[in-house]
């Protein structure tokens, strides 16, 4: 018997493979990131709706039945897909659309195939729900922090790695991607360090997870400039980890624009 699996998933990448089929990257909740061939998905019409109800779309959440790939780099087969949420809120606001693209790329950049992260999956679902609302910009940065932590690269923001001086507003700090941590202005740090105000670091360190943001949204208004600085810092860190530039880096300015 073939080893079919059922899992909830988010679609992180779609490539039209042929006139009738797509190759998709799904972030499944319990099986992790995987590439799957969705045979016939582009042809599925309502008249002869197959087990794959139609073409898969970016950032859709659904219920998937699939045959996982044998090895990390290989392609598995998607045999059924039932859309649960196609995120209309990301399709009616440009800022939310961009934010969706950013968290999507961030996820596929940091996670390895077939490495399950159910907790991060739930955080991504929560973040996507928040993107079009007042908590949207916070949710992007909060999710980035979560993704780095889940991938094993939690940024160390408590204080200077050298002298333990704590970050506070007005104190210039430097973030060193190679060390994933902070240095104060008085201690010698890596030349490629990014300058950042201690206030931004403090805000970033205190930022709750997307699920917490959803459950208890902070009432005070978000500081867009601080969030933009924080997002750029985390994207620079992810770029260093993945050794690959982020294609969505340039969208940040529009997402955190007041």
């Amino acid at each position: 018997m073939a080893n079919y699996q059922t899992d909830e998933a988010l679609c992180l990448r779609v490539i039209d493979f042929s006139e009738t089929s797509q190759v998709v990257t799904l972030l499944t909740r319990r099986h992790g990131l995987m590439g799957l061939l969705a045979k016939g998905s582009r042809k599925a019409s309502k008249r002869r709706a197959g087990p794959i109800g139609g073409p898969l779309d970016l950032l859709c959440r659904g219920e998937a039945i699939f045959l996982p790939a044998r090895e990390d780099a290989g392609l598995g087969t998607l045999t059924a897909w039932d859309v649960r949420d196609h995120h209309p809120q990301l399709r009616t606001q440009l800022r939310a659309f961009y934010a969706g693209q950013m968290v999507c790329e961030f996820t596929s950049l940091l996670l390895s195939p077939l490495d399950p992260h159910p907790e991060l999956y739930d955080q991504l679902v929560a973040a996507l729900e928040l993107l079009a609302g007042a908590q949207g910009p916070r949710a992007v940065v909060a999710y980035m922090k979560c993704a780095l932590t889940e991938a094993g690269y939690q940024p160390r923001l408590a204080g200077c790695q050298e002298c333990q001086a704590a970050a506070r507003p007005g104190r210039p700090m430097r973030f060193v991607a190679a060390a994933g941590g902070l240095w104060c202005a008085d201690c010698p740090a890596d030349k490629r360090a990014v300058q950042v105000d201690g206030g931004v670091i403090l805000a970033l360190a205190r930022l709750p997870t997307p699920m917490r943001l959803r459950a208890q949204p902070p009432s005070r208004e978000a500081n867009s400039r601080a969030l933009l600085t924080a997002a750029r810092l985390l994207m620079g860190y992810a770029r260093f980890i993945a050794e690959k530039p982020l294609k969505t880096y340039s969208l940040a300015a529009a997402v955190f624009d007041k």
């Binding site: 006139e19 073409p55 970016l58 009616t92 606001q93 440009l94 790329e105 294609k247 340039s250």
Partner: protein
């Protein structure tokens, strides 16, 4: 598996390879096509070669709407009986053909030559957005804006919707009316049997009666 093309001459192998790169053509079909060409008359076979050459040499993008055409401007842009005040924006020429086939549209078009796809590194600079804005700034002989309405007919995919949102933000300065293709339940559909995504679209994009 061995090399199925072993034993063929270099030229035959080359042609099989080229046919095999066409969409929907596998190695088997490519082999059958090559045998068909080898059997057919020189006139018939060369007519195919000539047609391919002619298409590549003479078909290009219309300078106004970027539709594929042999004549520039294209037949649609040159047609004075069409309503040039309404511009329907599509991702690709294939979509234009589909809309034309409905017979329900009598305006003109603008082909973007793609869609915004940040994850694939495709940005506005890779599309014909600037040319569209340029087109909308044009005035007719009475000094009125040449276009009254732009219909955004990009695909209702995440990227197509994102493209429409981006265009909407860029078109704001022109003052032109911007509309989006309707989405939701098709005529004759039954709510009981419709899928959740379509039903939620129908609710989100509901219209006043």
């Amino acid at each position: 598996m061995g090399d199925s093309k072993a034993g063929y001459s270099t030229l035959v192998r080359r042609l099989m390879e080229l046919f095999g790169r066409l969409p929907g053509v596998g190695a088997r079909s490519a082999e059958r096509m090559v045998f068909h060409i080898l059997k057919s008359s020189p006139e018939e076979a060369l007519a195919l070669a000539d047609a391919i050459r002619a298409v590549k040499e003479r078909v290009r993008h219309c300078q106004i709407c970027f539709h594929l055409t042999e004549n520039d401007p294209c037949e649609i842009c040159a047609d004075a009986t069409r309503d040039h005040g309404v511009i329907c924006v599509v991702e690709q020429s294939k979509d234009l053909f589909q809309i034309e086939a409905t017979g329900a549209y009598h305006g003109v078009y603008h082909v973007l030559l793609g869609r915004l796809a940040p994850l694939e590194g495709i940005g506005p600079e890779n599309l014909t957005v600037d040319a569209l804005l340029e087109r909308l700034r044009r005035r007719d002989e009475r000094g009125e804006p040449a276009a009254r309405e732009v219909i955004l007919a990009t695909n209702p995919t995440m990227e197509g919707d994102g493209t429409a949102l981006y265009l909407q933000s860029r078109l704001r300065e022109t003052g032109v009316t911007v509309t989006r293709l309707a989405r939701g339940l098709p005529a004759g559909a039954q709510i009981e049997h419709s899928n959740k995504a379509i039903l939620s679209d129908a609710l989100t994009w509901r219209t006043r009666m």
